[in-house]
């Protein structure tokens, strides 16, 4: 929900998703090529600042979305640094520090590139981009329906919890468990009913087996793609320059 809200509030919501995807891909490619911690750190910072300053994604949102993967990254790094051997038992593997630093910074840069994309692109735009990229229609239809149903069911769930709370359904953990169970059972019925209702609504508007939607129009896509390509090229040049410099 936080990602969704940020994407709609972003200053780049109206920017062509192809442009944002190109820039993110450029950032990921550069992070994959670069090896030096300094370069990787610069890439991560540049990509994060682009989202924060360029697209005006709130710092709090960026951190909240980044925290779970960052926690996972930290845990992975620790398991690399703290190792076990039969002779020494558990010990600190300081020799792995450079490799771990590189891996961590590379992951951070990749994460920043990805967050810059998803925190500025509402899912319908992403679906539209995937449709243009010839992703199988069935997969896209499923994604579109799941996305819509997510909000419909969330609303139904919230209404159910409110109605139960009003009748003391959550007074004490035993009541809470019972109420949650009852609501979960009711949700299954609701899903079935709503699926039937949506099918009927689609048929009323001439549904013939394929969900067809009008793709969103981005009148400045060509110019925005050019800018994104330039930005991506700059990041890639930084990474390639570093690799060439290290090889010389």
């Amino acid at each position: 929900m936080r990602i969704e809200t940020a994407a709609y509030a972003s200053r780049w919501q109206g920017v062509a998703p192809s442009a944002k995807a190109l820039f993110a891909l450029g950032g990921m490619g550069a992070a994959w090529i670069a090896r030096q911690p300094g370069t990787l750190g610069t890439l991560a910072a540049a990509l994060a600042l682009t989202a924060l300053l360029g697209a005006r994604v709130p710092l709090r949102t960026w951190l909240a979305v980044a925290l779970p993967p960052l926690g996972f990254l930290l845990l992975s790094c620790l398991t690399m640094l703290v190792t076990f051997s039969p002779d020494e038992g558990w010990h600190w593997a300081g020799a792995l520090w450079p490799a771990v630093t590189r891996t961590a910074l590379r992951s951070l840069a990749m994460l920043a590139a990805l967050l810059g994309f998803i925190l500025t692109t509402p899912l319908p735009d992403l679906l539209s981009l995937l449709r243009r990229l010839r992703t199988p229609e069935l997969l896209l239809d499923l994604m579109a329906l799941c996305y819509r149903m997510l909000f419909v069911l969330r609303q139904a769930w919230d209404e159910g919890v409110t109605a139960q709370s009003a009748r003391l359904g959550y007074r004490g953990w035993r009541h809470a468990w019972r109420s949650t169970g009852l609501l979960a059972g009711q949700m299954a019925v609701q899903v079935w009913q709503r699926a039937g209702a949506l099918q009927m609504a689609a048929e009323a508007r001439g549904y013939q087996g394929t969900l067809r939607f009008l793709p969103a129009l981005f009148p400045h896509a060509r110019r925005q793609n050019a800018w994104a390509l330039m930005g991506a090229a700059l990041l890639l040049a930084l990474a390639i320059g570093e690799r060439l410099g290290a090889g010389a």
Partner: protein, 286 residues
């Protein structure tokens, strides 16, 4: 008045054995405003779903422009292009993530090209006052806005007949006024409208014809000013007399207003009262 849609002795029984419609008959005149009134469970929604071809009659038949409904694939596509249905609960009609996408669903199913679809989507959103909301997520809209998106989704198919299942339910007074204005614009364009409602006052003020449903049957049809005076028939359909008519009758009985055709709304009645001059004693002249 030429008949555009006709329901002849239609019966329908649901899968669980409960009757939906029993020998139901009514005629919808072309370009007119029709209100379908009845208590809960009277069969209003079932009838609307029959008119859109979503349900098939177990007995009897439905006719469009004098021709029986064709339930073949092509026939149904043609029927649903001409007869659009707006459901009562928008959450059960909207399945696209974005407003524009959802409104485009029907026209795309008609096989129109992208440019024509875009034009229709823009016109439909314009008609319901949501021109600037095309790129918004459906779940970010209010209930009233969602309802308007539902109507736009059907208007974009440019139907000749628009069926609305309790369109006023859940809308506040200003939104009801906006919807009434939209319906007036559609009627002016020659669209035949049939809406189901529980609100006899709205039906009496708005409709040209009223159809009363009870127990799966259409028990009476007729011009709104005539049918609204028939208290016994209204009662049989679980309806009271329109407030404007009841008030008018009392005021006439007390010689406050002259006898004559009753006003169609309380507002019209107030206008009539304002035209009556006060006497110096504070009483109106008889």
């Amino acid at each position: 008045m030429s008949a555009q849609l006709e329901v002849r002795g239609v019966g329908h029984v649901f899968a669980d054995g409960s009757p939906g419609l029993r020998d139901c008959s009514l005629v919808l005149g072309r370009g007119r405003r029709h209100a379908l009134l009845g208590a809960n469970g009277a069969g209003k929604t079932t009838l609307l779903q029959h008119l859109n071809g979503l349900l098939r009659p177990g007995s009897g038949q439905l006719l469009l422009d004098g021709q029986p409904y064709d339930y073949g694939r092509k026939g149904l596509a043609q029927l649903r292009r001409r007869v659009g249905l707006v459901f009562q609960n928008p959450e059960r009609q909207l399945f696209s993530a974005q407003v524009e996408e959802d409104v485009s669903f029907g026209p795309l199913n008609l096989g129109l090209d992208a440019a024509a679809v875009r034009a229709r989507v823009a016109a439909a959103l314009d008609a319901v006052g949501l021109r600037d909301h095309g790129r918004r997520a459906v779940h970010h809209l209010s209930f009233g806005q969602k309802k308007r998106v539902c109507i736009a989704g059907v208007l974009a198919m440019e139907p000749d007949v628009l069926l609305l299942d309790e369109p006023m339910a859940g809308l506040d007074a200003p939104m009801q006024d906006e919807l009434a204005a939209l319906l007036a614009r559609l009627t002016a364009r020659g669209v035949t409208i049939l809406l189901s409602t529980h609100d006899i006052d709205f039906a009496y003020a708005w409709a040209d014809d009223i159809h009363l449903m009870a127990d799966g049957r259409c028990i009476a049809s007729g011009p709104a000013p005539l049918l609204a005076r028939d208290a016994a028939t209204l009662q049989a359909a679980g309806q009271r007399q329109p407030l404007a008519l009841a008030l008018h009758a009392h005021l006439v009985a007390r010689s406050v207003l002259p006898a004559g055709p009753g006003p169609r709304s309380v507002d019209a009645l107030l206008d009539a009262l304002r035209c009556v001059p006060f006497t110096s004693s504070g009483k109106t002249p008889t």
